[in-house]
Symmetry: C2
Subunit: 452 residues, 2 copies
């Protein structure tokens, strides 16, 4: 058993479902190497969501640029007893040589709209399915959830506290990046700070207080080291903790520069009001109140509706696992092969065939009014096209976008969404997404052929 | 912006919340280097769960053995402007030198029982919090969910199809391992197969069928390459697809060795009955029926209750994100410092102080009857102690356990659980977990001190 149980660019080629490889050997044997087109999209919005925020494209492009089978991977595949030497030789030289069109990260997207279109020789586009879904699904899920939390906080700061309860280590990095795109202000995750340059935030935990005999003494010691810190006041008795901060301010005079206090348990609204009263009565109007502990967009909205005097939120688990909807109904489907449109017919999971463009229409007063999913280069289409070509012949076309640029793009785009889409409790049909006449007749023609 | 946005043993030290490091600098400055004891435990069971299955210990021990701050990590921390050179020098030599006691992987555990007890100089035990929680929380969550799916399948095979919708790349590996411990038979995730030696499974997707003009021809081509394959029959018309398999069997005669068919959409119970009828009518009793598509333990139980003739299940998203409960209420709490018991008092989140042992009692007829959480070496305790010392002075004491050994342990342990605990819809109180008199009086003494 290997101990290198971490995923990196060097072993990501095997992060794929086995059936991709059994299909690849069949394609290789049958000579099916024509160009295929796969759409990556989401079938429907999770409950209460008005839109999704696209994320994950950079990881996807990194993967496609680096895709290769190292010797150990080939050795392992050989040991499974179902892959021929000829096929393993072919995999040794396997690279992604195709084209990618995509919606930019930070753009709002809706059901059935391709976030990504992969155009490549069938085996290349097929193999990438599992990894592309894994990363784009997750990062879009996280950006979409975070967008709601940011919206609920109405401009107050939101800090990602989720690392400890997210699903594994990679999730903590990719989520912190997706959260930042969606407008979260900082993360507690130091590695995400290092890797992406996201602001990091954090001061003290209960264990720090508990390791000392006296709460006031520990506040003072900590503030000597970090004069502008935030003190955690709820280890023993919350309001008593706040009074100790006020006592300290009195004793320290001008040397007191503590930025705020943090409440992490109990009735946060009630405690925040009590804390604010104590602080204000002692003239400490500049000391902010931060709250954390089982927060999500719903809890934040409730607190602010009740006028809780809270200036910032640390949001952990419920954001970090997208608790009310921990997955999206994402799909990666063949829509064209060898120039012919394709679709799956059975049951309700019918997909839209053929290469596409999505057009976003103005609805007046600076707001978007709806989208049309159309066939690529369908005549007569108007509006802003969303998919742009980002990779050709396996290489990125555009310089990597900066994270702040993506974040600003996301903020601007959300400003253009009709206000009702940004509510916390949405119905699915709030934003009109039409299918063009060209695409509709392609579906009908194809359905007729398949049912023959 | 670095592009190495993967977590590995080399950068895992920074996968920590910033507050761990600000506290560490304070501990360093104040000379707080005495021995601390932290418990990692779960506060309560998620809805419907009767028990949890411990997992993640191997990852935790790997991390502690390798914990160090590489030069780039120190450089990044220096750039934050809040860490002194003296502290960064200290971090450069930082290693985990402590002791770990733990419940073996694959053992059932209950609320408030430590899965892990870390005994180390305060800074070492503190820093590890985020990473240890991240991995043990997630792997225990996954093993616990998978245990339910395996139970529901009543001995039929269960294959992990979840990679595409799990939360990031690391999750796909660690979950596949946790699932295998819990009794899942195979994974579609090739990398998990390579890294852990778990059996891998997979044959074909709809895109393979759609890339060909004729469904029967593609079945035949695939079975020539993989004679014992499983054919996916629901791309166009499911029962029509089954008939094509039957036609093929007739034509091929003895050369027909196809193991089964897979249904991936529609009313799986209804379609399985229809498929079984067609197959049996053509004498194909040996062709198995596999089902996949939005399955979880509840759906599997419903199908089998209805006598759906399904022989195996591919389970993806709902297992992979633990959809009905995507997190556990896990915690990592200081319980002792410098030989003195500690606890957090405020609100409902009171924790049990002091070092502990958990004793599991026999309930007769081979079943466990309940547990007692006691103080370490508390006199008069009976039963099987669950926590064992697995690391001392930063080094593993025992040889690494094989994955099959852990899996067998989990299977045996579950046999000893009262049958009602293994149901799909449980109440929290089903298994008695007592707190010993010694621990109760420690809580009372400490409460009195803290409230003074």
């Amino acid at each position: 058993m290997s101990r290198a149980d971490w995923v990196t660019a060097d072993n990501a080629a095997l992060l794929t479902d086995l059936y991709e490889l059994t299909m690849l050997q069949a394609y290789h044997r049958e000579g099916l190497q024509d160009t295929a087109v796969f759409d990556l999209f989401v079938r429907k919005l999770p409950p209460n969501r008005g839109f999704l925020l696209a994320a994950g494209l950079e990881t996807a492009l990194d993967y496609l640029e680096n895709l290769h089978f190292p010797a150990e991977a080939l050795e392992y595949l050989g040991s499974l007893g179902q892959f021929s030497d000829a096929f393993l030789d072919y995999l040794a030289g396997f690279r992604f040589t195709g084209e990618v069109r995509a919606v930019p990260e930070g753009s709002p997207v809706f059901p059935d709209e391709p976030l990504l279109e992969v155009i490549a020789p069938l085996p290349e586009a097929q193999l990438a399915e599992t990894f592309l879904l894994n990363q784009i699904h997750f990062q879009t899920l996280m950006a979409s959830k975070a967008s709601r939390v940011v919206e609920a906080a109405q401009g107050r700061s939101v800090v990602d506290f989720g690392a400890r309860r997210m699903h594994g280590a990679d999730a903590t990095l990719k989520a912190a990046r997706a959260f930042y795109i969606a407008g979260v202000h900082a993360t507690s995750n130091v590695l995400a700070g290092q890797v992406y340059g996201i602001p990091v935030s954090g001061t003290m935990a209960h264990s720090y207080i508990e390791a000392h005999p006296d709460e006031l003494a520990v506040f003072e010691a900590f503030a000597r080291l970090y004069p502008e810190t935030i003190l955690l006041v709820d280890t023993y008795d919350t309001l008593e903790g706040v009074r100790k901060v006020a006592d300290m301010a009195e004793r320290w005079g001008d040397a007191f520069r503590v930025r705020g206090i943090r409440l992490d348990s109990g009735d946060l609204g009630e405690l925040a009001r009590g804390a604010r009263e104590i602080l204000d009565a002692r003239g400490l109007h500049g000391v902010s109140i931060f709250a954390s502990g089982s927060l999500d967009e719903y809890a934040i909205a409730d607190l602010l509706e009740d006028d809780a005097p809270i200036d910032g939120f640390g949001v952990g688990t419920h954001l970090g696992v997208s608790e009310d909807s921990p997955y999206l109904d994402s799909a990666y489907k063949l829509v064209e092969y060898a120039g012919e449109p394709r679709m799956k017919l059975a049951t309700s999971k019918t997909t839209l065939p053929a290469r596409k463009q999505v057009y976003r229409h103005s609805g007046g007063e600076g707001f978007y009014g709806g989208d049309t999913i159309a066939a690529l280069e369908e005549p007569g289409m108007e509006g802003q096209p969303l998919l742009e070509t980002v990779m050709r012949e396996g290489e990125r076309l555009l310089p990597r976008r900066g994270l702040d640029e993506i974040r600003n793009h996301a903020a601007r785009e959300r400003e253009h969404l009709p206000a009702n889409l940004r509510g916390l409790r949405m119905s699915e049909s709030a934003y009109p997404v039409a299918v063009s006449e060209g695409l509709k007749s392609a579906v009908q023609r194809l359905r007729a052929t398949l049912q023959r």
